[in-house]
Amino acid sequence: MSAVIDDHGHADGQAHGPAKGLMRWVLTTNHKDIGTLYLWFSFCMFLLGGSFAMVIRAELFQPGLQIVAPAFFNQMTTMHGLIMVFGAVMPAFVGLANWMIPLMIGAPDMALPRMNNFSFWLLPAAFLLLISTLFTAGGGPNFGWTFYAPLSTTYAPESVTFFIFAIHLMGISSIMGAINVIATILNLRAPGMTLMKMPLFVWTWLITAFLLIAVMPVLAGVVTMMLMDIHFGTSFFNAAGGGDPVLFQHVFWFFGHPEVYIMILPAFGAVSAIIPTFSRKPLFGYTSMVYATASIAFLSFIVWAHHMFVVGIPLVGELFFMYATLLIAVPTGVKVFNWASTMWQGSLTFETPMLFAVAFVILFTIGGFSGLMLAIAPADFQYHDTYFVVAHFHYVLVPGAIFGIFASTYYWLPKWTGHMYDETLGKLHFWLSFVGMNLTFFPMHFVGLAGMPRRIPDYNLQFSDFNMVSSIGGFMFGATQFLFLFIVIKCIRGGPKAPAKPWDGAEGLEWSVPSPAPYHTFTTPPEIK
């Protein structure tokens, strides 16, 4: 790197531009390339996991068994969950982190570029391993994405070992990604960028990365215990040998609950960047946002047993986990209040990122409220394992995590591609997604409260109409995502030239570099006022 690179000019960027051909992507250590790889990988997994959801909705279109055998249905529910959680949502946020964190803190790249490359390329291997199980003789994992023992040990298909190794690889990838994010944020900030000056997306990712480091090893531990129970004769989860299947649920949810915040905190950060931009006002209550995020992260470690109120825990335990869970509503409420206050009396415009962000706030709050209902232990006895739970977590994950990712993509696409996306098509994508998503998941509240159990390929006749509505909404939401693919490809290939700062209300270092962002940025750190 002998040439002096002016980080505000384009011409010199080419002096050290990307390599040509396929090997550019295999060998790249550039944070922007790796971010792009993560985002495309996540989109592929989103379509694959989505196609599994389409199989589920097609089977549930009418009562009775029509399209797939129950055994295959179980594999579809399992793989849909696993692929969406580990393949679609988490890599999308890692992709956004790779692209945006160095640009937001004025760093030239991630702190550990080679490890960055490795942590991405582990993912295709992991998911190839996982998906290949569908073609094996005994079928793929069929025990639900929560893989409770003994379903996943004593009664598991042979392919469970592939599943275990796939989880190991994903875990290693996430941990390395998290270490990289922390090392970047703590060491490579431009001079003058103090912690409390960092954009909230960086803050939420810093906290998310710590959550990942704390709980992904526990997930690795629990699948290792499964592996030992299955192949090496231990009895962690086998009562005959002195173990306890309920232990599995405790260890799994010790990972699982922080995991749900891993999937939402970065979206909180992105929305906290987008809403001020399109309200043309600074974010209301920045400091309280940081503390609220940290509180949510802390609380996520002491609420895990609310997933297992019905396994038989002592009354004191139920009360503790119930109140601790309800407590999470406080910092979350602070966030929603801050977003609403940011919009209050702002000069609002509703470009596509803002539409997704506003829908995020409203619909995520609905998911939060159904979460409060589920948190009440005596009520949960009724709701447990019904479609009400499915409605709840899809309301926090689809308009939460996924809409957050859509909003981020539209918000930063001009920076990534150098072109403006098609605003009309973007809005169409939003409205079709919005209507499709609500049509799919809102009726699930009703069938759930009426007692329809989850993960079953057939149902009582009384649930027919609502399920048909859900399925129609599901097909609509699924098909709409091809429009998203079209919009992104169209934007990459051309469109109106994007200025360095395409949104007039936007704040942040990423808008100080030209669009598209040069291959190398901030080789000399910028000055922060």
Partner: protein, 190 residues
């Protein structure tokens, strides 16, 4: 620029955190066990009870007995009586019967559970076949006494206890021959 000292130190610390959390996952196993015994979670009962108690004649508790065979377990296994009405503090006995109808020796392990779970810590067993593993020859039938004391300190609102045993076939895990050779390979942790 990318391998400066502070980054290396940070990565080392973070990696250490990963190792610690991986170990913590495994540490949850004994922690869970201790918590279960301390608070009677899942109705887990403690090991052999050595203490003695004075009988409380003013109070009676009904204790019911259940026996279940785990999947694929072919033994006959049942208590000789359905229930006992006992005074807290007194030593009581219930005999369980096990019979191996197959033509090969088998070993088995019984796992107890108390309902309601909060009473588990007040249910003391002074002698139980669940403390050891059972080996039965083909066609062999045994009677196994189980002696217990219901603690005087048990909350007054508990008037009815259920002791349920599930019998697991552990022949594959502990072949009967080996179990006979090491006869006192019992598991006091039960």
């Amino acid at each position: 620029m990318n391998n400066s000292k502070p980054i290396k130190r940070l990565v080392l610390r973070l990696s250490l955190m990963v190792v610690v959390m991986f170990a913590f996952g495994f540490a949850l196993v004994p922690i869970y066990d201790v918590m279960c015994r301390a608070f009677g979670i899942n109705g887990k009962t403690a090991g052999q009870y050595e203490g003695e108690q004075v009988v409380d004649p003013s109070r009676q508790v009904k204790v019911q007995f259940l026996s279940t065979n785990a999947i694929d377990m072919v033994w006959e296994f049942y208590p000789k009586g359905d229930q006992l009405v006992v005074n807290p503090g007194s030593v009581n006995e219930m005999v369980f019967v096990a019979y191996n109808p197959t033509d090969h020796p088998m070993s088995a392990q019984a796992v107890p559970s108390i309902s309601p779970a909060e009473a588990a810590q007040y249910f003391h067993k002074t002698e139980c076949f669940c403390f050891t593993q059972q080996v039965l020859q083909p066609g062999e039938r045994i009677e196994m006494p189980m002696r217990f004391i219901v603690d005087r300190a048990m909350p007054k609102d508990v008037k009815h206890l259920t002791l349920a045993y599930t019998l697991f076939d552990i022949t594959a895990r502990h072949p009967p021959v080996a179990a006979i050779a090491g006869k006192d390979a019992d598991q006091p942790s039960r």
